[in-house]
């Protein structure tokens, strides 16, 4: 087994057990070096400079776009828009597509499991256009019943915004099925791939997604770089989201002619070093191999899952099958508040997330308003899991319970 921790500066400290990769991943040396290399060797404003390093910066930035295109299997780099993160990508679609295309009587379909970032923009679109927000509910294990999906989609469904993998339960939503159904009824689908892109193959052509959003930072890239994929035919008809520099062909006193895709949606100076870092993260990911990543994450998740099940008073949310969790294990311990669990684990330098995970409607629905979440990545190891489990076993005793 390769020691992946060697590739990550922060994981050189073996006393740290990092189990919060679903919030943000760690970054390997190669990503940090690529980002720094950009600033050291080609720092200048991309797409503007008519001099050598300016062209080098443009090449680096556009090269990163091509890298992302290949990663998502999109047909053209015109379909790859760089943003700050998933949230901005979704807002772009909400403002530029949702507000301009939806109207009273239309429906926007989301699932109850959405992260707030794939819910609040649609609440805004619904409030401003008069469209109705419709919720597709999941079962307690995170799965969706076929009859519920069929009942939720109709001719009124003009847009569906679906999280690919739940950040609370780790379960995969049946996006292909939903996309097919919504397309049959004439609507479009946005896939929130924030939690899926780092863990499973995301192929926009195979999915036939109309829009797909993900964040670089969950995929080991720097913070502040994200991606929106959109079908060219849709993006072409959409007005810009933000207006400003380097997104125009011509500007007069009264107005402007906007430039072509993808730059129409990238107003202002871009995060070129971040994009270069994202390309390096994808390179690193493919070098490890998505199959190896999945295999390793499954092994470690199974190990943690099976031992957690043995701990009295501990309940894991979602599926009873560890392989359906994609490294995400949200849990409760009877009688101990999740914030206390996280603080006690932190005393042993174990990093987990506690709270509502930006998914309050789902937690309300599941009946556990707050939970603790451990999220496992391929660069974790058995030692991390053992340390985590050993500390978990002590928590109730530490809180003064006799058992």
């Amino acid at each position: 087994m390769k020691d992946y921790k060697k590739d990550f500066p922060l994981l050189q400290d073996h006393s740290l057990v990092y189990l919060d990769s679903a919030a943000t991943a760690q970054r390997p040396y190669s990503v940090l070096e690529a980002e720094q290399e950009f600033y050291k060797k080609s720092n200048s404003n991309p797409l503007r400079g008519l001099y050598r390093i300016g062209m080098a910066a443009t090449d680096a930035y556009e090269g990163a776009r091509e890298r992302v295109r290949a990663f998502l299997n999109a047909s053209s780099t015109e379909e790859i828009i760089f943003t700050r993160n998933t949230t901005e990508s979704i807002n772009l679609v909400a403002y530029s597509y949702g507000l301009t295309r939806l109207k009273q009587g239309d429906e926007i379909l989301v699932t109850i499991a959405e992260h707030h970032s794939n819910l609040l923009p649609w609440q805004m679109v619904a409030a401003q256009t008069g469209a109705k927000l419709v919720f597709l509910e999941c079962e307690k294990d995170g799965s969706f019943l076929e009859k519920n999906i069929e009942a939720a989609v109709s001719e009124k469904t003009k847009l569906a915004a679906i999280g690919h993998i739940s950040n609370v339960l780790g379960s995969v939503a049946p996006v292909e099925k939903i996309i097919k159904l919504v397309h049959q009824k004439g609507g479009v689908v946005l896939v929130d791939a924030a939690q899926s892109a780092p863990h499973i193959t995301v192929d926009v052509e195979k999915l036939d997604a109309d829009f797909l959003a993900f964040s670089g930072h969950k995929l080991m890239a720097p913070m502040g770089i994200g991606v929106l994929y959109g079908k060219k035919a849709l993006l072409q008809k959409m007005p810009p989201f933000l207006r400003g520099g380097e997104m125009i062909d011509k500007v007069t006193r009264e107005g402007a002619i906007y430039t072509q895709l993808p730059h129409k949606f990238e107003a202002g100076t871009v995060n070129a070093a971040g994009a270069v870092g994202l390309a390096a993260a994808i390179d690193y990911m493919e070098q490890v191999g998505i199959e190896n990543i999945q295999k390793r994450e499954q092994e470690l998740t199974k190990l943690a899952f099976e031992q957690m099940q043995q701990i009295p008073y501990l309940k894991i949310l979602g599926s009873t099958k560890p392989e359906e969790h994609h490294g995400i294990l949200s849990f409760t311990i009877e009688g101990v508040h999740p914030h206390d669990i996280a603080s006690i684990l932190d005393e042993s330098n174990i990093a987990v997330r506690a709270g509502h995970h930006c998914a309050q409607p789902l937690l309300e629905y599941l009946g556990d308003k707050v939970t603790t979440r451990a999220s496992i990545a391929f660069y974790n190891d058995e030692e991390d899991i053992e340390h985590f489990i050993a500390c978990l076993k002590e928590i109730r005793r530490r809180m003064g319970y006799g058992d």
Binding site: S15, N349, K369, M399
Partner: protein, 141 residues
Amino acid sequence: METRNFYNTILTEHNLHPEHKHVLKDANLMLEGVNPSCGDDIVLQLKVEDGCITDGAFEGSGCAISQASVDIMLDLIIGRKKEEALHLAEIFLKMIQGKATEEEMEELEEASALSDISHMPARVKCAVLGWHTLEDMFNDN
């Protein structure tokens, strides 16, 4: 990395067996305190006669730190004058910022067991919820 341990016996005892967690029927001051981001929620109830806190209780739910802290606070302030209680609140808030002297810490008695929370910025709001609610209650009245 230093090992921190603020889940000491004093804190866990007050969390598991809070002496003052009940309804105070003859309370004449009552105020709710909430930390929206983490869901800590308490209702502080006091009986104040001639400027003296003759009885007190709380209800609510939340993490161990928020619940234990308010129970410890009630232990300390019941039987004291309003001014004394506000003085203790001031010292407690100073302690949580890591700024209280040893003499001041002694005044806090059991509440000084929460001093380590000053190293845990994310949990400060849990520890001070009861004390802030007390301050708000008196400042509004």
